[in-house]
């Protein structure tokens, strides 16, 4: 029996690898932050105009849907139980299509009307995912994959061909609004909300459920409600992502969203969110998305064939998840459980 005086299991002589692993566990976004900074430097070196003031708002505008897709995919993964949301990308597409085809032409284009409507739509669809997973106990992969198909079909139905929209307010989201990059409004506001969200009661329950749903359940947490809310939150963020996407493409185009599936997952993994749940956050996902975006711009600036970007994304996803699983293996509780 160990005595209570040896409170911490990490003695002074701990190996560097274990120390690094524990640091990475605590500040999950550190790796993606470092990577992002390195990529910004690389990009600026290759193409000096990259860092110019006139370019940045546009770059941020293109980045916004990446970051929002990544952040939207995060809650479902955080909440654990094999959680994942594959329907985020088509939901972004739906938000894009509904805005351009249903809302704008019919006098509902005013942001004060359109934004709440779209957020509500996203939240409802997210909640449906949540109910399928938490109440009906579908495996999250299958539930969200089926919803992915259904939403994809709806997207295709509404906009079989790209439809241009007349210039409207989302364009400013992709550039700037009174000298402030529009992305500050989309991504920035979301990150700000995340900052306050971390102080809520729900946040603690979310991570606890993701970490060990049995422990949370035994302590009286309403695990089903926590999970439904997590998926709903993802849906809301996907809707925001669709709005930001509309800003960059200024049309309803369903050929755009499919690539976001992989990008979102790669960004989340890069950002340090554990695939098993219980660890991670929006900041990491946003930084991961930024890193992914910067890889794309770097390759483009280097004149690399656009198809190699696909290769790069796939490779990034693979490396990120494999590295992430290795980190998980060094945790003391994991080692104990292996007996």
């Amino acid at each position: 029996m160990t005595s209570a005086s040896s409170v911490s299991i990490v003695p002074p002589g701990v190996s560097v690898r274990a120390w690094l692993a524990s640091a990475a566990r605590e500040y999950t976004f550190v790796f993606s932050l470092v990577l992002t900074i390195a990529l910004v430097i690389a990009n600026t070196v290759v193409l000096p105009s990259f860092a110019s003031w006139s370019q940045i708002p546009g770059e941020l505008g293109t980045l916004a849907p990446f970051a929002l897709a990544a952040m939207a995919s995060t809650p479902a993964i955080l909440v654990g139980g094999g959680g994942i949301d594959l329907s985020i990308a088509p939901l972004m597409g739906l938000s894009n299509v509904v805005l351009v085809i249903a809302l704008l032409p019919h006098g509902l284009g005013n942001p004060a009307i359109a934004v709440p409507l779209l957020l509500l739509l996203g939240g409802l669809i997210g909640a449906i995912n949540g109910v399928l997973v938490a109440v009906l106990r579908y495996p999250p992969v299958i539930a969200t994959l089926a919803v992915y198909f259904v939403l994809g079909g709806i997207d295709l139905r509404l906009a079989p061909n790209p439809v241009n929209s007349y210039p409207h307010w989302t364009a400013e989201l992709a550039t700037s609004l009174w000298h402030v990059p529009g992305t500050v409004l989309t991504v920035g506001v979301v990150l700000l909300c995340w900052f306050f969200f971390r102080r809520t009661a729900y946040y603690g329950s979310l991570l606890a459920v993701g970490d060990d749903d049995v422990a949370a359940f035994s302590a009286g947490v309403d695990v089903a409600a926590v999970r439904i809310l997590a998926y709903a939150l993802g849906g809301v963020l996907a809707a925001v992502g669709g709005i930001a996407l509309t800003g960059t493409i200024q049309s309803a185009d369903i050929t755009v969203w499919p690539s976001f599936v992989l990008i979102a997952l790669a960004a989340v993994a890069l950002g340090g969110t554990a695939l098993g749940g219980g660890r991670g956050g929006f900041l990491g996902s946003a930084l991961g998305a930024t890193a992914v975006y910067l890889i794309q711009t770097l390759l483009a600036a280097l004149g690399v064939d656009v198809f190699y970007v696909q290769v790069a994304f796939g490779a990034v996803l693979l490396v990120a998840v494999v590295a992430g699983s290795q980190l998980g293996r060094t945790s003391p509780m994991w080692r104990e459980a292996r007996g």
């Binding site: 029996m1 160990t2 005595s3 209570a4 005086s5 040896s6 409170v7 911490s8 299991i9 990490v10 524990s22 566990r25 605590e26 102080r199 809520t200 009661a201 729900y202 603690g204 329950s205 991570l207 606890a208 970490d211 060990d212 049995v214 422990a215 949370a216 359940f217 035994s218 302590a219 009286g220 947490v221 309403d222 409600a225 926590v226 809310l229 219980g278 660890r279 945790s331 003391p332 509780m333 007996g339």
Partner: protein, 525 residues
């Protein structure tokens, strides 16, 4: 209040009722079954205000099930739970239990490893959107509660998974205390605590009593029960046998209540024991420690011998058996096997297999049975290569091999191609046993093979084990049933706190003596 021991032929003995106002919780004739096993059979139990009520019982007596029903995890099949005068048919969920004032610290240390100490102490207290208290107040209270338990309060922001088990358990207890329970249920919650923390816990329980709260205390440590238990209820086979006040029964008498009448257990295998047990040692451990700091175990197992590993759950015997099979690494020491004529170190499952050591796992459902496969497939998997011609399996051959074991083990399986799940638990276990016997082992390690198996099937399995022992196989078997040890084993090794604390030879042990050694100091003569 009884002088002599009550006769225990009938089901639940009547519990003394003394002043209705005193009773906060009454469990009335609650029954719960899982599949074909009846975990609780019309069990009745009563808890008074301001008392620490201990519950004592062997493996399988129903204690855990009773706890889980009170905690809202399981729902009783019948019976009534009366809480503060209000009848209920069930407690719907852990949240409902907590709302009703019953807070449980489970036997398993359930913590969210990546969350901080403070988070874990307050886990479940918040509503969906609103916090139970402001953060500063939470931290202060968490520190307070942990300070009452531990000499050194851990860093509140440290992830709980990096802390030792005793601290994690303290967090679980702290979690319960912070809810200010009116009824606190502690299920073996002192198992990982050190003495100082345990004493602090007992002081907290005394204070809880003084303010009118009640405690249900489940433990297998007689000394603890003696120290703080105001009353003790003994459970046996899913019923409550009797409830006794403090000081009215000795530890021996409690053990008698737990085990029931001393029946004569027929001994098997005694006749030929001398000729059966060979002189060659086939499996040996040198200085194996099951846990850090436990006494080293040096064991020699001979061909043809039947060795039993006994004790209450979680005392180290499960880990020891898995160490023998190369499935777990010992904290110290080595396992050596001599089946092939030479000595070979057993450090992995592959080593074990290569040396004809076969391990039959404990939990059928998670470790042995392929539920979507047929009876025949479940039997043949490790040995199916024998039935192959040019890569194709000739089912006729598998059938022939299987029929041999169907006869020996008396397996009731009318359709070999039917799903394994159509068989009873006992027959499923026989198929698993046949699977491993077919691998022609030199050493057979069995982890609680007759759990959930009916009496007839048990006897059949015993017969086969004796047969293989006679043929020279060394058998090491973990069992949670005392009678099995008395009936079969040449040697019985009792585990307690990760060490072998008692050893008996065939014919020496009695049921009471064995059970007494499970519970340790005070219970032995």
């Amino acid at each position: 209040m009884t002088e002599s021991l009550p006769s225990v032929a009938s089901d639940s003995a009547p519990v003394a009722r003394r002043g209705e106002a005193d009773v906060v919780l009454r469990v009335e004739e609650v029954t719960k079954r899982f599949g074909s096993t009846e975990a609780l059979r019309k069990c009745s139990f009563e808890l008074r205000k301001g008392e620490v009520h201990a519950i004592l019982g062997e493996n399988g007596s129903g204690k855990s099930t009773l706890v889980k029903i009170l905690a809202g995890v399981h729902r009783p099949d019948s019976g009534v739970i009366n809480l503060w005068g209000v009848d209920r048919h069930r407690i719907a969920s852990p949240q409902a239990a907590i709302d009703a004032g019953i807070v449980t610290v489970f036997q398993e240390v359930l913590v969210a490893g990546q969350r901080t100490v403070a988070d874990n102490v307050w886990l479940g207290s918040d509503g969906l959107l609103r916090k139970a208290a402001p953060d500063s107040r939470k931290r202060a209270r968490a520190r307070e509660v942990l300070a009452e338990l531990l000499d050194e309060v851990p860093d509140l922001d440290q992830p709980v998974g990096t802390l030792p088990l005793s601290v994690r358990q303290a967090c679980c207890i702290g979690r319960a205390l912070v809810r200010e329970p009116k009824i606190l249920v502690l299920d073996e919650s002192t198992s990982a605590l050190d003495v100082a923390t345990r004493d602090s816990l007992f002081e907290i329980l005394a204070r809880l009593k003084a303010t009118g709260g009640s405690v249900i205390f489940i433990s297998h440590r007689m000394d603890e029960i003696e120290e703080i238990g105001d009353r003790v209820t003994v459970l046996r086979s899913g019923v409550s046998i009797d409830t006794l006040d403090r000081g009215t029964a000795t530890a021996r008498e409690l053990v008698e209540l737990m085990t029931g009448q001393e029946q004569l257990v027929p001994e098997r295998g005694a006749e030929d024991a001398a000729s059966r047990i060979r002189s060659e040692v086939v499996l040996r451990t040198r200085g194996v420690r099951v846990r850090p700091g436990a006494a080293p175990i040096d064991l020699e197992v001979r061909a043809g011998e039947l060795v039993g590993l006994a004790g209450l759950e979680g005392q180290g015997q499960d880990r020891f058996l898995r160490i023998l099979g190369g499935l777990a690494a010992p904290d110290d020491g080595a396992v050596v096997c001599s089946t092939g004529g030479r000595d070979a170190a057993i450090q992995s499952a592959k080593d074990a297999v290569r040396n004809r050591i076969v391990y039959v796992p404990r939990d059928r459902r998670t470790e042995s049975i392929f539920e979507s496969r047929s009876v025949l497939d479940n039997f043949a998997l490790p040995t199916q290569g024998r039935d192959e011609t040019l890569g194709v399996i000739v089912t006729r051959r598998t059938n022939r091999r299987f029929r041999h074991y169907v006869d020996r083990l008396r397996i009731v399986a009318p359709r070999h191609r039917g799903l394994i799940t159509t068989l009873s638990g006992g027959n499923q276990q026989k198929v698993v046993t046949a699977r491993w016997l077919a691998a022609n082992p030199a050493v057979l390690l069995l982890n609680d093979p007759t759990r959930g198996v009916d009496l007839g099937a048990k006897r059949d399995i015993y017969d086969v084990l004796l047969e293989v022992a006679k043929a020279g196989v060394a058998v090491v078997m973990l069992s949670t049933e005392v009678d099995e040890h008395l009936e079969l084993m040449d040697r019985i090794l009792v585990f307690r706190e990760g060490e072998i604390t008692a050893e008996s030879r065939r014919g020496e042990a009695t049921r009471r003596g064995l059970v007494a050694s499970f519970f340790g100091s005070g219970a032995d003569e």
